[in-house]
């Protein structure tokens, strides 16, 4: 029931992207990633302005749902933004995304081979990819 995942860094670049069950590939993956980042940026502004309690809005938004998918969102104070697209009936994956971020911290950021803001090469950071896969399968999100 997961479609794909994006991880953006503080500068707006997509450092990690994984596809699980996507049916419609985009024309250009890079363009799509930039579009998503821009969209998230305008969402943040929209949430701040629309919210009846703007002081509580630290996290941007939680998720949005359309007829075909649900986009779960998690952003950190350090500027990492995690996006996970799932089937529309999946419940809020906030806790799961928080855990994915902890995996990112443990297996990528703390890795001395990693320069912050670089793309995460799946072959170099295979432990991260593996741990991520194991976690998502354990949570019954992936088969």
């Amino acid at each position: 029931s997961l479609y794909n995942m994006y991880i953006f860094n503080r500068l707006g670049a997509c450092v990690y992207y994984e596809e699980y069950n996507r049916t419609t590939p985009p024309a250009s993956l890079e363009d799509e990633q930039n579009l998503i980042y821009g969209m998230l940026y305008s969402f943040k502004h929209f949430v701040q302005k629309t919210s009846p309690k703007p002081d509580e809005e630290q996290s941007g938004f939680r998720y949005f749902r359309t007829s075909a998918y649900k986009l779960h969102y998690f952003e950190t104070a350090s500027g990492f933004r995690l996006v996970l697209n799932s089937a529309p009936n999946v419940a809020d994956l906030r806790k799961e995304l928080r855990f994915v971020y902890s995996l990112l911290v443990d297996y990528v950021i703390k890795n001395p081979e990693y320069t912050v803001n670089d793309k995460i090469q799946p072959d170099v950071f295979s432990v991260f990819v593996r741990e991520l896969g194991t976690y998502l399968t354990a949570k019954k999100l992936l088969k």
């Binding site: 938004f61 749902r65 075909a68």
Partner: protein
């Protein structure tokens, strides 16, 4: 018995903040606040129109609608788009049930058809200034808070 007890405690947070209607070009044609708020930016409706369209574009699956439900920490936005491209959306408390909000939106759409579209003095895509519409929207919203709401998901 237990269900009713849960209902009354949750009724306090069943706040509806506002309702907005956008025409198919993204212009705001109707805005109504139910709770007094200091700052209201009417340009946000056009931002939402763009956000709604972008959500279709980035869909990982074929043929997605625009944003139907948008949840943040302090509010939930429930949107309904009609076949003519008009969007109705509520800003409500995040604990508000989506099914209830969807049915409220459908009722507002009915009221819109009856008292706005059928009004001979109303021109399409223009701001809505119909007294009867205001009155019946008020009816729909107050009838929802008077009746006990279903517990949220």
């Amino acid at each position: 018995y237990q269900r009713r007890v849960r209902d009354t405690t949750q009724n306090k947070s069943m706040v509806l903040y506002s309702i907005n209607i956008i025409n198919k070009d993204g212009g705001l044609v109707y805005h109504r606040e139910f709770v007094k708020s200091q700052r209201v930016d009417l340009r946000l409706a056009s931002s939402f129109h763009v956000m709604h369209a972008m959500a279709c574009q980035i869909s990982p699956v074929a043929k997605s609608s625009g944003i139907e439900e948008f949840v943040a920490e302090a509010f939930k936005l429930q949107c309904m788009q009609t076949r003519t491209g008009v969007k109705f959306y509520f800003i409500a408390d995040p604990l508000h049930s989506s099914t209830v909000l969807k049915s409220l939106l459908a009722r507002v759409y009915e009221v819109y058809c009856d008292y706005v579209l059928k009004n001979p003095f109303y021109s399409l895509e223009q701001p809505v200034r119909c007294e009867k519409f205001d009155y019946f929207v008020e009816q729909v919203v107050s009838s929802s808070s008077a009746a006990s709401s279903k517990p949220s998901k």
